[in-house]
Amino acid sequence: MPDSTARDILVLAAHPDLARSHATRTVLDALRASPAADRVELRDLYRLYPDFHVHVEAEQRALEAARLVVMLHPIYWYSMPALQKLWWDEVPRLGWAYGPGGTALHGKDFWLVASTGGGAEAYAPGGHNHHAIGEFLLPYQQSARTCGMSWLQPQILHAAHRATDEEIRAHAELFVKRLEHFPEWCDTAVERSVGDEEAVDFDERPALFSTLGGGAA
């Protein structure tokens, strides 16, 4: 059951130049203005760590407090921006997030909300990226899994540079609505790996919203 008073959602935003971002900024603005803001702990990584000195303890505390971990960023070179990758390198430590005794993240949900430069058609065997978006996201998926987190269907905005304001707004609204109604919309196809007792309940729930664009993941 969602506890409406606690901040049970952690949003890790990573954009190296938010002032010039369109998609990511719109999404963040929509989040700040929505009722979902009350249950969200927003950590703007490039703002917190302009010198790339990630505060590991602070990040771990934030992770511990969350039930849903959201990563919000543009896809750079088929992957995440450098600081977000550094965050992965440093925060989920052995013996804390994975490996022997590493259970801090077990049972949490992991959700990627990203934007790509290429259009949906580019992410296909015949397109110029040659692979479906889901294949590029495998490292994300396996990282989440290694930490015992459940993989939620990513929400991807394709062709973000060409997207109309309307499309970006729709993307942002869907994102915010889902945060507000977490975990009601979580996919039935969610794969629960290690020790999640709550996983069972979700199977009976109908999906509240259809996924937008949806990768082929």
């Binding site: 010198d51 000195h53 505060h55 430590r93 052995l94 013996g95 994975y98 490996g99 022997p100 290694t146």
Partner: protein
């Protein structure tokens, strides 16, 4: 003169000013009316506290001279050149227009035309002192009306010379050829004096001021500023030109110099007091007996003066497209008579055109118009505010967003320079304040906007724009001054965010207590960089050394912040510092330990274990 008398004069003046001005301001009548009333009260007509034979009017005139010097300081030569058309064009329209209308009235009332012309020219003049003082009091200096008033006032100062030359010519007392000869000679002398001021100002003043600033004795700089203004005034008086005009020219020539703010700040109090004295003197000169003797004549002169000038000026303000809000100020401030009128009437009396009674009646009328000015302005404001209330809605919509406020950097040493250069590299301009004339000189060579002056002086900060600044950088190296400036900023310029340089930890705490949030210890980061070099030289990988330095920095700042509330208790502080250092070293050791363990575990191969679990 007895000793008692010597002290009595300043006592009476200061007491009158101190009592009357706050009272007038409290009644919302403006300080000028306060000074005038104080003058009337201590003058011969009422309390007769001041003997008539004092040199007060002469001393008081220095207030006007200083004021015009300061006005000149605000006007760069380029701007003055751009104003040449309003000065000669609209200025002449005002002077000749008003004089023509007044002459017509005079002739219509059956006065001889020569007399009418002379008196009208006297009455057409406005009081530069009152007009500019009111502009300053109401902060109208930079408005359209303010500049128009200044233009007209400047022309009147220039025109004073030919007008005074004209009086004897018109006075029928003969010797007009002789007067003409004198006029030519005076003209040549005047031109010579202006050339001296312009070239002297260009070539000699700046190096002289720099040399004086080098002596690092603030009072000598003040003395030099006063000497400069008085010297210019004396030179002008010598050749028969308006002292105020000369001071104005000197001001314009220094408007682009780095000492502009400092000169302004130093001369401001003198100007204020002497100008006050000037208004008191005008009040004292108001001969109530003369008014009582021929009240109808005085009042009709006053009415004619005000009505004719208001009519002409209203027409002008429309033609000049002065904004509606500023029109009452323009019309009323120029509609009053001026102190220059006194001189014209005096001369006319000595030339036998008018008699003493007429003279004192005219002087009384002009003085009354001066006294009425603040009242008229208040009335004009009322009418305008009603009009504005109606137009207010429309205006709001048309208003442009406010201009982004500037950044002020106090201190142009090594620290401030890096900040300023970095800002400039990013397309941002900052106003730099410093009192080291050498540093300023080197910066000015790179075309920086640098002002010479003590950044801990409130008036100095105000002139540099601290009231609208968004960011104030305190980069000065004197700890006491730095803290003083931070406290001043918190108290007087709360809108500005302060970014400060701390010389050491104690200074850091003092700045924190003064409410500063953005503080950097000046040697801390460079020491960390050196520590990194040392670690690298001992064999640590550069990136690992960087990480250690960053970690050290973060912990250090955390401990520093924890100790801020303990500042008042020295013992607690020492204990906390010791504890903090211990904890910190333990923490760093524990982190190193944890990292090693992490690496050992990774080498130990946890993933085999994981694979087993998975399958």
């Amino acid at each position: 003169m007895s000793h008692g008398n010597w002290l009595q004069l300043p006592l009476v003046f200061l007491a009158a000013a101190v009592l009357a001005v706050p009272l007038a301001r409290w009644l919302r009548l403006g300080s000028i009316l306060g000074y005038l009333v104080a003058g009337v009260l201590i003058g011969p007509a009422v309390l007769a506290l001041i003997p008539e034979s004092t040199a007060i009017p002469e001393v008081a005139e220095l207030g006007v001279v200083l004021m015009l010097f300061l006005v000149g300081l605000e006007l760069e030569p380029k701007r003055l050149w751009a104003m040449r058309r309003p000065i000669f064009g609209w200025g002449s329209v005002q002077l000749l227009g008003c004089a023509a209308v007044l002459t017509a009235v005079g002739i219509a009332l059956g006065h001889p035309w020569r007399l009418s012309v002379v008196v009208s020219l006297g009455l057409a003049m406005s009081s530069t002192a009152v007009a500019l003082a009111v502009l300053a009091e109401r902060n109208l200096g930079r408005t359209t009306a303010g500049e128009s008033i200044l233009s007209v006032a400047l022309l009147q100062d220039i025109a004073a010379i030919p007008v005074l030359a004209l009086v004897p010519v018109l006075a029928l007392s003969g010797a007009s050829d002789d007067a003409e000869g004198r006029t030519w000679l005076a003209g040549a002398k005047a031109a010579g004096a202006i050339v001296v001021i312009i070239f002297g100002g260009r070539l000699a003043l700046r190096p002289a001021l720099r040399w004086i600033a080098h002596s690092k004795t603030p009072e000598i700089f003040t003395a030099a500023a006063l000497l400069l203004v008085l010297g210019t005034a004396a030179l002008m008086q010598l050749v028969g030109l308006s002292m105020a005009l000369g001071a104005f020219l000197a001001g314009v020539l220094l408007a682009e110099s780095e000492y502009r703010r400092e000169l302004e700040t130093d001369l401001e109090p003198f100007k204020g007091l002497l100008l006050g004295l000037f208004f008191i003197a005008v009040g004292m000169g108001l001969d109530l007996k003369a008014v009582a003797a021929q009240p109808l004549f005085v009042l009709s002169v006053l009415a004619a003066l005000l009505i004719c000038k208001i009519l002409v000026l209203t027409g002008m303000s429309k033609a000049m497209k002065i904004p509606l809000v500023e029109r009452p100020a323009f019309v009323i401030l120029l509609a009053q008579g001026g102190e220059f009128g006194f001189v014209v009437f005096q001369l006319a009396q000595s030339e036998g055109m008018i008699n003493a009674a007429q003279n004192s009646a005219l002087v009384a009328a002009v003085a009354l118009s001066l006294a009425l000015t603040p009242l008229l302005l208040t009335g004009g404001d009322r009418i305008m505010s009603q009009k504005l209330a109606r137009l207010g809605e429309k205006k709001k919509r048309n208003e442009a967003p406010p201009v982004p406020s500037p950044i002020i950097i106090a201190g142009s040493g090594r620290y401030g320079q890096v900040i300023a250069r970095m800002l400039r590299a990013n397309g941002l301009e900052a106003t730099v304040l410093d009192h080291d004339s050498e540093a300023i000189e080197s910066l000015r060579r790179f075309e920086w906007t640098v002002y010479y002056g003590d950044a801990t002086r409130l008036d100095m900060l105000r002139t540099a724009g601290a009231e609208t600044a968004r960011i104030l950088v305190i980069a000065i190296d004197d700890i006491a001054q730095s803290v003083e400036l931070a406290e001043l900023a918190r108290e007087h310029f709360p809108q500005a965010t302060v970014v400060a340089r701390a010389r050491n930890v104690q200074h850091y705490y003092q700045l924190r207590e003064a409410g500063v949030d953005h503080i950097e210890r000046e040697t801390f980061d460079s020491a960390l960089m050196s520590a990194r070099s040392v670690l690298e030289l001992t064999g640590m990988e550069p990136h690992a050394a960087r990480r250690q330095a960053m970690r050290f920095r973060r912990h250090n700042l955390e401990v520093l912040e924890q100790m801020v509330p303990l500042q008042r208790d020295e013992n607690a502080l020492i204990a906390a510092a010791r504890l903090g250092r211990q904890q910190f070293e333990q923490l760093m050791a524990a982190e190193r330990e944890a990292e090693d363990a992490h690496r050992r575990a990774q080498r130990g191969g946890w993933d085999r274990h994981d694979v087993e679990q998975d399958s």
